[in-house]
Symmetry: C2
Subunit: 346 residues, 2 copies
């Protein structure tokens, strides 16, 4: 396994180092190459993602990213020049974001129930296409447009992926989240494609929720969701909310997948670089470790993936929630659990 | 006061009738004209909002709407042909949505704190402009676009309104919610205008939150928000979430305001027509009553507006939460509280 690692900024390097420790327990032979991208490189050289680096990244089986971002870099630069550029260049069309409330974890809801969902967020089009512009800038008649671009090709492949995932889960339930009553063109295309693809999956039950109503359900009845499929922007919003409901972005992992496998997929914790706590051993590496589990699952190493997730579940159920330990201590615990080979309750 | 009333569908007429009962206690001389718009009229005549009705509505000081919608009408028809059409025709640029967790009300959060915010949602542009289309429909190469249209004119007037409101509140705090790191054109225009207008309001502190992070804050720390200003679509999403956090859309009121007063403003509960419980006296008219309070406030009858809100607060604090009573009983209680003229704790 050839793995490219982008530790990034802030707590990125700290959590990545624990994630690799855990990976080492199941794939000791992984070949790891580090790529120095993020705020520091941009400050030093002005580079965000040089073509040569992009070419090298493509030679790997997968990419693990820690976190990117620093208050010294103007908003949008690293996001668009590095994070989103990677997603678009690598055709990461399925942005996979599981949200599970693990036993022992207390989220903000008084009574969340049994939450175990996965959001399949489209990753390469919609309002993220970057199409738009400014007219009459800096005058009182200025106009800004943003164009959401939605293609049958782009939607069908993520909808198909979402149905496949739903089919492999016990509840076999899929919810399309959109805003079809207002965004009539994109809404119509998404709805028609979900309907079409559903014909190939008669055992999957299909529901629809407007994005505004979905946010209500996520806080009043999150256990209703199994697989959600949605567009890039709605997915951005509801996955942060779903992460909050299941204990916070400190625990949320994500995969940016090219389902065709033409490009390496990229795995990253949903959290950011948290510069305020960087370098102090305060960051919880759990989301990075769960990202490694998603990575292994994507590469077909299902058993190792499950073992890591089960170890995380065990640790979350048994840790002292008030003081779960330092970054390294959590990483050590998880590595030991994984290596102990014990099948803990997942 | 000349008031146009659109009772609408489902529970709309029931909750409007209680709201008018309460209004009668403070403005017994209000002249009320009912307009029959909604699902029933569309089924009977195919009409959604005839020009003649639009003309008549304009002759009023304000509009009170119950709820519109029925499962027998295809999604989008009433929304775009009636609700959104009213907002656009009447230039309802400020969509005002307070979210307050009243004492005695239990929301879904284990520990919500003291929530009292107001969202100023832009109401006449953004992704709601209806600009977009389908290309190569029903082929595998189909493309759907949605264009978010944002004008300096349109943004400035709602931002100015939001700052004015912030200035009149104890905390004097304003948060812009957007997604400036991705939607760079619209984000740039919104940010620059907030910065400009803030210079005229040095006493108002200004914060910024990406919409995805805002959903996290709304469930982990909602009391941080005072006034939120945001675009039409983000406002749609976060006001539903804010309503859920403060006890549900059954309690949430809204105003669609033309700040210039060229057109009558429209007030409506955030909830829908709830056809499943229609006609059974099960609907809580509180959101409709609070909409009347917003209406009176907008028309300058501040004292009456406050009295109604205080009565609602008193009722919510003292009612049997498990069985608050039938629609009419709640309306009777609120009317009696309002008429008793007692200044209850607001
Ligand atoms: C950082 C930002 C560009 C990104 C996004 O909007 O997709 C982030 O919020 C995420 O969800 O991964
Ligand atoms: C019904 C729908 C068109 C409307 C909107 O999206 O604005 C509703 O969700 C609201 O928030 O008033």
């Amino acid at each position: 396994m050839r793995l490219a690692v982008i530790p990034g900024d802030g707590i990125g390097p700290e959590v990545v180092s624990e994630a690799l420790k855990v990976l080492g327990e199941v794939v000791p032979t992984a070949e790891i190459t580090n790529y120095d991208l993020g705020a520091a490189r941009w400050h030093a050289t002005g580079e965000l993602l040089p073509e040569s680096v992009l070419g090298e990244l493509r030679q790997h089986d997968a990419i693990l990213l820690g976190a990117v971002g620093d208050p010294t870099v103007p908003s949008g630069i690293l996001e668009r020049g590095l994070l989103l550029r990677l997603r678009f260049e690598m055709d990461h069309h399925v942005n996979l974001r599981p949200a599970r409330l693990y036993p022992g974890v207390r989220g903000p809801l008084a009574d969340a129930g049994d939450v175990d969902m996965v959001v399949v967020r489209e990753g390469t089009e919609g309002p993220y296409a970057g199409t738009g512009g400014l007219l009459r800038k800096d005058t009182e008649h200025e106009i800004a447009t943003e164009v959401s671009v939605n293609t049958a090709f782009g939607i069908r492949r993520v909808v198909a992926d979402a149905f496949n995932r739903a089919e492999g889960r016990p509840r076999k339930h899929l919810t399309l989240v959109h805003k079809t009553n207002v965004l009539e063109y994109a809404g119509s295309l998404w709805s028609r494609i979900v309907e079409e693809v559903s014909l190939e999956h008669p055992e999957v039950t299909v529901a629809y929720s407007h994005v505004d109503a979905a946010t209500i359900h996520l806080v009043t009845d999150p256990s209703r969701f199994d697989v959600i499929v949605t567009d890039n922007l709605f997915g951005d919003i509801i996955t942060d909310l779903a992460a909050a409901v299941t204990g916070g972005i400190g625990l949320a992992a994500s995969g940016n997948l090219d389902i065709t496998r033409r490009n390496p997929s990229m795995f990253e914790p949903v959290h950011g670089s948290a510069p305020d706590i960087a370098g102090q051993g305060l960051a919880d590496p759990t989301a990075a470790v769960l990202s490694v589990s998603l990575l292994l699952d994507h590469l077909g190493q299902k058993e190792s993936a499950r073992r890591i997730e089960a170890s995380v579940a065990f640790d979350l159920a048994t840790r002292d929630q008030a003081s779960p330990g330092a970054t390294q201590a959590i990483g050590d615990r998880l590595a030991a659990l994984v290596s102990s080979n014990v099948r803990t309750a997942g």
